[in-house]
Amino acid sequence: MSTEETLVLKLKNKATQAQAFEVLVNTYKERLYWHIRRIVLNHDDADDVLQNTFIKVYRSIEGFKGESKLYSWMYRIATNEALTFLKQKSKKSGISNEELQETMIENLHSDVYFEGEEIQLKLQKALATLPEKQKLVFNMKYFQEMKYEEISEVLETSVGGLKASYHLAVKKIESYLTDAD
């Protein structure tokens, strides 16, 4: 039995659940945090979404059948939580998703937890022009250095499709950065 399967069994057992959950959070918190942060951009929002993700995982683990890997299931929940968070935020503010993206990037200028320079800001602007899926694939491949096979499990897309998305994303970013200069 793999380590992951053992962890899932412990999470489903009331007697070992608390200790297993601590192991789960400590194992995945950093990876999930960076995944979420690159979607919502702001640290406080990323922290909220990360907590919601773990709470959803804790409450839904009973229904986890092990048909996919635990980490890909958690990544899916995190992605879903982050995108839902942004949708709710734009709805509450009465603005479109595009307008929200612009505001989020604008806010990076005064964000104490953004240490990027002009090139990083330009990159965020370029990323905002991409369709959601291309943006996700780019961040997962380039910054999180995930393998196509791993991304494929999370986004439930073929490896070939992902390669095409990544190529397109890189080309579009390059063209945006070149035009912006």
Binding site: L41, H43, Y113, P131, V170
Partner: protein, 177 residues
Amino acid sequence: MNQDHKNKFKTPEGYFESFNERLFARLETEEGEPNTDFLPQKDGFGIPEHYFDTVYPSVQSQLEKRAPKVISFNRYRTFYYAAAAVAVLLVLTLGWNWNNSPDLNFEDLASTDIEAYFENNEVGLSSYEIAETVNLEDISITDFTEKSLQEESILEYLDEHVEDVEDLDLNYEELEY
């Protein structure tokens, strides 16, 4: 050294044996990964000091805060009995048939009202959760195929939800004729 006896051209030793390997290596380089030299190595995002140490305690405290509260039924049992007795007495005294207004059912709600409710209220359910909640056993594929959708509705949906033509996942080969 390989030699073509007709043309007298020569190739290096093992050239054809290693040709496939070299071809695939080049394809891998040219088509495998796009050039990303122009991209910054880091995205510039930072975090507060020792942030990751605080994650588990915060999640734990959130779980405790959001745990559904269990209210002991026994504590209020006497009040429930008393309230039920009063209700029965009132019904018997005032008669049953005092309310002639028709009962309202779920079917009486206009679909626009339901849509407006979901639109204006934060139901707190993501599409993922709704998909988990809906019982698929009561739904068959014919529910979707037999009901014809207005072309206008389809176009409106695509306009609102599809950001890129790639999202449609069209198989262009099948469309060629």
